[in-house]
């Protein structure tokens, strides 16, 4: 089913036994891929900064964070779907519909904002469950199921909004999601917690490996990793504090990225997601309930789309007929792919949702600052996506030539 995983025994037999060290392979395949994207991001930032010195200002960087929240959250769910080697084309429409449901329940029916938000997320979950079940039970390609969903849920949004077409959000709990900023002191406390938490996780993992008598990373490597995260956190909080402060929206995005990365990398369910994406047949024979994994993943994608849609509506202060439409879907898929999640399943991480959203958001934001037309924006974004996939494909070919021959 997945072309990528189908190394035949015959071709395997032709390979000489493998001499590269594990760390070398990891660097080439994983860390270097991320480093490449980070490097690309730095280049993008330098280019825009040289054209307009407001680009790297604290105000604009804060705006950038607010702009990428919705797309990043949707991409988190997309990563799960991509890891299965599937696609979900409905996430944009689902994000719009969920926001519409929240707006109607809160504004027109007077529901409490919390209940309206929960209901909206559950709409996303239910849609994901439905699409995932149709896909796995009847073996309809996910592309087709979710394409039908894309159309249907767009229609549902129009239906829900009714004749007015636009619903303005006024409830401070809802609008606060994307428009709340924390004090400097809170920012630094948060920063300290992140650094301490990361250091604790690294140290605990190291101790466990040593206790089990396994090869563990050297202490300088661990110190370097903690120092890197600490530097990024401190710089980020310093920049955000010099403008309006750390935004709630960014915390929500980070919480989901970290939480969903934990689920996919550290839990049994996450392992099964990778297994199904690598080889569904192998997973089935190993006793994994493949269809349950698939349905759950689509439910996650629907839920994350709904959460992204709620954040987008909160930022816009309204839900309208265009919510969740236009390029949102394609950018939410392009982001993780640009940042290194494979379209063929089994390879990638939730971290790429954040990184990809940063790349795409930076390009979009920078071109807005330069007052470029939509025509140019679309063409440039398309070019960057193609370039990223091309670089990835070339890297994969080199990896096969170097590591597998």
């Amino acid at each position: 089913m997945k072309g990528e995983g189908a190394a035949t025994p015959a071709s395997a037999a032709g390979r000489l036994s493998f001499v590269n060290g594990e760390s070398v392979r990891r660097l080439v395949q994983g860390d270097l891929a991320s480093a490449r994207v980070v490097l690309g991001l730095v280049v993008i930032w330098i280019i825009f900064q040289s054209q307009n010195d407001r680009f790297l200002s604290a105000e604009n960087l804060t705006n950038l964070m607010l702009q990428i929240t919705a797309i990043g959250l949707i991409s988190v769910g997309i990563v799960y779907v991509l890891l299965l080697g599937e696609i979900d084309l409905s996430v944009g429409a689902v994000s719009g519909l969920a926001a519409g449901v929240m707006a109607v329940l809160n504004v027109k029916h007077g529901w409490s904002p919390y209940l309206a938000i929960v209901a909206a997320i559950l709409v996303g979950t239910a849609i994901g469950l439905l699409q995932g079940s149709l896909f796995s039970r009847f073996a309809i390609p996910s592309f087709v199921v979710t394409l039908a969903g894309l159309l249907a849920w767009q229609g549902a949004l129009l239906q829900v909004l009714g004749s007015t077409g636009t619903i303005n959000l006024t409830n401070p709990k809802i609008t606060g999601l994307a428009n709340t900023f924390y004090s400097d002191a809170f920012g630094w406390i948060f920063c300290a917690l992140v650094i301490a938490g990361f250091a604790a996780v690294v140290l605990f993992g190291h101790r466990r490996r040593v206790a089990a008598g396994l090869a563990a990373e050297s202490v300088p490597t661990l110190v370097f990793r903690v120092a890197l995260v600490a530097t990024i956190s401190i710089v980020a909080v310093a920049v955000l504090n010099s403008d309006r402060g750390v935004p709630l929206a960014l915390l929500i995005l980070l919480a989901f990225v970290v939480g969903m990365e934990y689920v996919v990398k550290r839990t049994r369910f996450g392992r099964h997601v990778y297994a199904v994406g690598g080889s569904a047949e192998a997973a089935r024979r190993a006793g994994i309930r493949v269809n349950a994994v698939r349905v759950t993943v689509f439910a996650i994608a629907g839920s994350m789309a709904a959460i992204g849609g709620i954040m987008a509506a909160s930022r816009l202060l309204a839900v309208n007929q265009g919510s969740g439409g236009s390029e949102l879907l394609l950018l939410a898929i392009a982001g993780p792919v640009i940042a290194g999640t494979s379209l063929f399943g089994g390879r990638g991480s939730v971290w790429t949702a954040l990184l990809g959203a940063l790349v795409i958001g930076s390009i979009s934001n920078g071109m807005d600052l330069l007052a470029l037309s939509s025509a140019v924006k679309f063409m440039v974004t398309g070019g960057v996506l193609l370039l990223a996939v091309l670089v990835d494909a070339i890297a994969r070919q080199q990896r096969q030539a170097a590591g597998r021959v």
Partner: protein, 260 residues
């Protein structure tokens, strides 16, 4: 036929697919610490026999005894639970996962604590156990964290065999374990089969390659057109005898049921 205290014993097992008699009253047995080579031409019924033992097909007639008790295997889980592990030719490994993840696929260890769904995988424990398992089999892999897709065919076969041992089976069925392997890799796998015998397991090896079978098997069972046409002690038997039983030309072994 060594039926005294056989670990796994099939008696008069028959299986029919529509008009095709895939297995016709086949007797078959494996003892603990014995490697049985199962040979025969294409369509002779080797795979059907293995799949019947593994619970993929259920026998139409006949009985299967395991450790002296009559058993019924109607689905693969039955066989696994009894202690019959099967390694199929296509191995069913996930190329994108590392060696440890593949060995524990579907049986992952998780850390203690509340809430099973959100509990962390116990990677250290799995890596430790997988390392012990592989070193007890003298399998050499560059690293336990190597992606299986980057391993050689022989190493992949060894990982697949190691995985089948995780549930501590008594009988291991290997379907064409040396097909498509080069000479040094075939040697690795045959040595691994020898170590399974040393562990006291009953091993059944299907292969087209008679010289491999002679190298590793204690006993060779020949199937032809769904019937067991020969049962040879490997020692003192020549390839010609076995080929004759496979093709149905000339004499066959002590279990001769030839019809020309």
């Amino acid at each position: 036929m060594s039926s005294d205290g056989a670990l796994l014993e099939l008696q008069e097992v028959s299986k029919r697919f529509g008009p095709v008699q895939a297995l016709d009253r086949v007797d078959f047995a494996v003892n603990a610490g014995e490697v049985v080579g199962l040979v025969g031409d294409n369509g002779a019924g080797k795979s059907t026999l293995v799949k019947t033992i593994a619970g993929i097909h259920s026998a139409d007639e006949g009985s299967i005894r395991f450790e002296g008790n009559e058993i019924k295997v109607s689905k693969p889980q039955d066989a696994t639970q009894l202690g019959i592990a099967t390694v199929y030719q296509d191995l069913a490994l996930c190329d994108n996962l590392d060696v440890v993840a593949n060995i524990f696929l579907g049986q992952e260890e998780i850390s203690p604590g509340p809430g099973e769904a959100t509990r962390q995988l116990d990677e250290a424990k799995m890596e430790h156990r997988a390392g012990e398992l592989l070193s007890s089999l003298a399998v050499t892999i560059p690293s336990m964290r190597t992606e299986v897709g980057t391993l050689s065919g022989g190493q992949r076969q060894q990982v697949a065999v190691a995985r089948s041992l995780l549930g501590e089976p008594r009988v291991v069925l290997l379907d064409e374990p040396t097909a498509a392997l080069g000479v040094p890799q075939t040697k690795q796998v045959l040595e691994l089969i020898g170590r399974l015998r040393e562990r006291g397991l009953g091993v059944v090896v299907i292969s087209h390659n008679l010289s491999n079978i002679f190298e590793v098997a204690d006993r060779i069972v020949v199937l032809r057109l769904g019937k067991a046409t020969g049962d040879f002690q490997a020692e003192g038997t020549t390839e010609e005898h076995v080929v004759a039983a496979i093709t149905g030309v000339g004499e066959a072994g002590n279990g001769n049921k030839e019809e020309g």
